[in-house]
Symmetry: none
Subunit: 275 residues, 2 copies
Amino acid sequence: MHDFGMDHFVGERQARIFAELRAKGRVAAQDLAQAFGVSEDTIRRDLREMAGRGECERVYGGALLPSGQTVPLKTRISEQPDRKMVLGSKVVELLAEGSVVFFDAGSTNLAIARSLPEGFRLTAVTNTPAIAAELAGRPGVELIVIGGRVEPSVGAAIDSTAIRQLETISPDLCVIGTCGLTLEDGLTADIFEDAAFKRLASAASKNSLAAVTSDKLGLRAAFHVGMLQAPLSLVLEADADEVLVQELALRGVAAHRSDAAEPNNEKKSSRGNTP
Amino acid sequence: MHDFGMDHFVGERQARIFAELRAKGRVAAQDLAQAFGVSEDTIRRDLREMAGRGECERVYGGALLPSGQTVPLKTRISEQPDRKMVLGSKVVELLAEGSVVFFDAGSTNLAIARSLPEGFRLTAVTNTPAIAAELAGRPGVELIVIGGRVEPSVGAAIDSTAIRQLETISPDLCVIGTCGLTLEDGLTADIFEDAAFKRLASAASKNSLAAVTSDKLGLRAAFHVGMLQAPLSLVLEADADEVLVQELALRGVAAHRSDAAEPNNEKKSSRGNTP
DNA sequence: CGAAATCATGCATTAATCGGCATTAATGTG
DNA sequence: CACATTAATGCCGATTAATGCATGATTTCG
């Protein structure tokens, strides 16, 4: 258990506890009291409060993750496989054969990797084990893994080791994951370190590209990743807001729309089809 | 039986017992008491409680899965086709909770990672994306990825970047993959750089362990990894040559045999008791 | 049947928890 | 500015959970 230092706001401390919990799966009241330099009573109060909020499950001596909680990534994969695959194949169309591409963490980016056609020649760089495993052994793909401690809540290596290794690479394209997108705040992420890593990866690359599902449009997550400006490109779903796309065009951001997702039922037949 | 470590919350311990139960189909109170470092009374109390919850069925000396459960059958079906999983679970029994373990490349080592029970606390270090993806997000597992160019023929990062990163880590145990094992030449590998990396990983670790399927016994691959000598341990399949095992013992190499393919007949009633 | 192992129960001990109360510091109010 | 209010925290005492040990009952098996 490491020493978290002495001065913390309440919410800050609870956030740390929550992070520790996600990382280790369990926390002991005694250890936390030691680590934060507060009494066990205070920690218990925190845990009680967090349990009330559903962030943890109290047990005698500490707390555990609420049962059924594991990697968000795996769950996110099963959420909307089809839509993400459609988006993914659209992104693949934009990849230049033979280029060096960094794949950031995120279920959407995993879908992109899955959509890569067999034999596509590419140098892939990633800090995300799930994406690396998907790409490993593909003929034509040269795979570079960014190492480091894998942050459980992100599912990727974003620590100082990873940053140092990233600094030795200048990809042609950074395929960036995002948790929210608004016109005012640009791309945002839920986790501080993750956002920082995304900024670095983006800065190191000649171009950036973000594939964003429509459920993230209009959302602003806590931490800023980057504004919507060149050399960023976006790939959006077919049902993305038209006004947004035009506004993006004004800012010099190329916004590609993925093709409509062929539901058997012609619900959205009014969409402009190629005649 | 594992050494499950010493500090557990009650619910955790019961969850582990339940996992063990699902995996093996039966648990003995004595073994569990030993494994968790608590008295048999405590284990009995756990089992009683779990039985009350319907998670197990109490029997004299331990507990079984409730009679209606289909789980053991399922497990056996999925285990049967894969000898490596049997080997893997044997290896997992030898892992100390809370230790730092390096997982080398190889399908056997992937099976070991798969066999890791849910919630097992471990710091895992690996240069193999497939293993990293398997371990990513497991509660209790702290995952460190060794980065670098992934050599396609090996499926792992073994280049200079990987070596440099490996040098910053000193695992408690190196779970090493191998392509061949003979008494004269020890462990050998098919690929030069891979063999070199294995040597380094092994040297950096306090102990080494190789799980070797019987088809590799007596084979000598082109490149030398290490001789059969302490602090190396081996885990072999049940049908491994008896002469080989005895010869290994002479050299101070602990050789564990995985259990034979389960004729459910090893009740311990006839076990040698201390008179 | 009879010995050895295992079990259930009660009791004692230790540690964690909860509720209440006092203290401190920040914030609000007259 | 003085005073009330509130939030955060630590401390104390009563309560409860978890565990080990002792004892007598129960089961297993030769």
